[in-house]
């Protein structure tokens, strides 16, 4: 397999030497139907430098790509921009094989790597704004804490006007194409938005500050090289503007109706609410968590203004699919939403009450009282559901008008 994997040239002196994971489908709870890539980069400066590594099982693929350019033993420095295991999983083995002079990470990166791998390799902490000379080229480091881990940092290569952005601007998309201009914009937007919603969203306030911080450096950037998915060499301005839009979390004229159902009664309610929302001119997505995955729900909520959630009551609880989805969504901290809870029940009805409580914890503004219906909804009950849809639509319009 030695000669199967080659490096891909990014600029005159920078090569992509990562790995393609066609098979991964579960990224700590985020479903990745298109697989992913773990991007590592080789800088062929006087002092040859490797930026990040790959997930552990892909070490040989990375080394093979490096070998297509240079003997790995000639790598002098390794930089770890992000300690998460999909980028550091083979770092220890890579250090053993390559024996670089020095390995660098942010101060928190050093601590995290030590706590993950418990080995004696020395990793040197770099400070925010610190530079490293590679002889004929220079790297500058920028801490980007909480995008999306405390250790995260960017590395900027001035001579190639290239920003290594680790997980920022990334996406889970396995392709043989390595650059954004080789893929359609609709695919890029969908995958980047899904990634943002599932990984970056909780730290949106920091994203806005970091974008300002990068702009204030005056760095010229013609390439953004993330740790997953394609390298941005054409649509840089576009993806940065999308990040600003997603981070701003402005409510849009869109409702997402998310529910789980036992015997289709809650589903009938969800359908009636959704039809009324759409009829009132609100773009509406409806997701049955009996069929959809939580990461699809996160994607839909990213650009929503209303979150309407429903569940049947099972053994005095909400359905487990909704507990799963709500736990996940709560952690992602979507902001500026209005919402309501609904559902059918047989004899007690705690599920809807508990859903509404989670909406409140998520700081979702309750647009209408929770709606519970005993057993299957009749014509009158479905009309009440339609009224709920209309009320939410009206409240959303008010909110959009005042924001």
């Amino acid at each position: 397999m030695e000669n199967v994997y080659s490096a891909i040239k990014v600029t005159e002196n920078v090569y992509w030497v990562g790995a393609i994971d066609w098979g991964i489908r579960d990224f700590h709870g985020y479903t990745t139907p298109e697989g992913s890539t773990y991007n590592a980069y080789l800088i062929m400066a006087d002092d040859v430098t490797l930026i990040d590594t790959v997930k552990s099982p892909f070490k040989d693929e990375m080394l093979s790509r490096i070998k297509s350019v240079i003997d790995p033993a000639k790598i002098k420095y390794i930089i770890s921009n992000h300690s998460e295991m999909d980028h550091s999983g083979c770092l220890t083995e890579a250090i053993d094989l390559i024996k670089p002079d020095k390995v660098f990470a942010s101060a928190i990166g050093v601590k995290t790597l030590r706590e993950l791998y418990h080995n004696q390799h020395e990793i040197i902490a770099v400070k925010d704004g610190e530079t490293l000379s590679l002889g004929n080229m220079n790297l500058t480091f920028m801490e980007t804490r909480m995008i999306h881990w405390p250790d995260s940092m960017f590395t900027y290569l001035a001579e190639e006007e290239l920003l290594f952005s680790q997980d920022a601007f990334g996406m889970h998309l396995a392709t043989l194409e390595r650059f954004d201009d080789e893929l359609s914009e609709s695919v890029l937007e969908f995958e980047a938005a899904t990634y943002y919603a599932n990984i970056v969203l909780p730290y949106s306030a920091i994203v806005l500050k970091t974008l300002e911080k990068v702009a204030a450096t005056g760095w010229k950037i013609k390439i953004i090289a993330p740790d997953h998915g394609p390298i941005w060499r054409k649509n840089l301005g576009w993806i940065i503007e999308l990040y600003k839009k997603w981070a701003a979390q402005k409510p849009a004229n869109k409702a997402v109706v998310i529910y789980a159902t036992m015997w289709h009664s809650t589903e009938k309610m969800a359908r009636a609410i959704s039809e009324a929302l759409a009829e009132a001119g609100v773009r509406t997505s409806i997701l049955s968590m009996n069929h959809f995955h939580r990461s699809q729900a996160a994607y839909e909520v990213l650009e929503a203004g209303a979150l309407v959630v429903g569940t049947s009551t099972l053994n005095n609880n909400m359905l487990p699919q909704m507990a799963d989805t709500m736990t996940y969504l709560k952690g992602l901290k979507p902001a500026n939403l209005i919402g309501a809870a609904f559902g059918s029940f047989g004899w007690s009805g705690e599920g809807v009450r508990d859903l509404e409580a989670i909406l409140k914890e998520m700081k979702v503004e309750i647009a209408a009282p929770a709606l519970s219906i005993r057993n299957a909804p009749n014509k009158g009950a479905l009309e009440i559901c339609q009224e709920l849809g209309k009320t939410i639509a009206a409240e959303l319009k008010n909110k959009l008008a005042s924001s």
Partner: protein, 52 residues
Amino acid sequence: MKKYVCAICGYVYDPAKGDPDGGIAKGTAFEDLPADWVCPVCGASKDEFAPE
């Protein structure tokens, strides 16, 4: 009143601003924050904070 910095994520608690989302009123000193108060950005506990 002193500002305090989160050692994990770098968030700065400013007593003049409080933490409105966490139910902390303006003018609340860091020392007076409840023991179960957490960093609004990363969720770290109070003992991760140090004076700025």
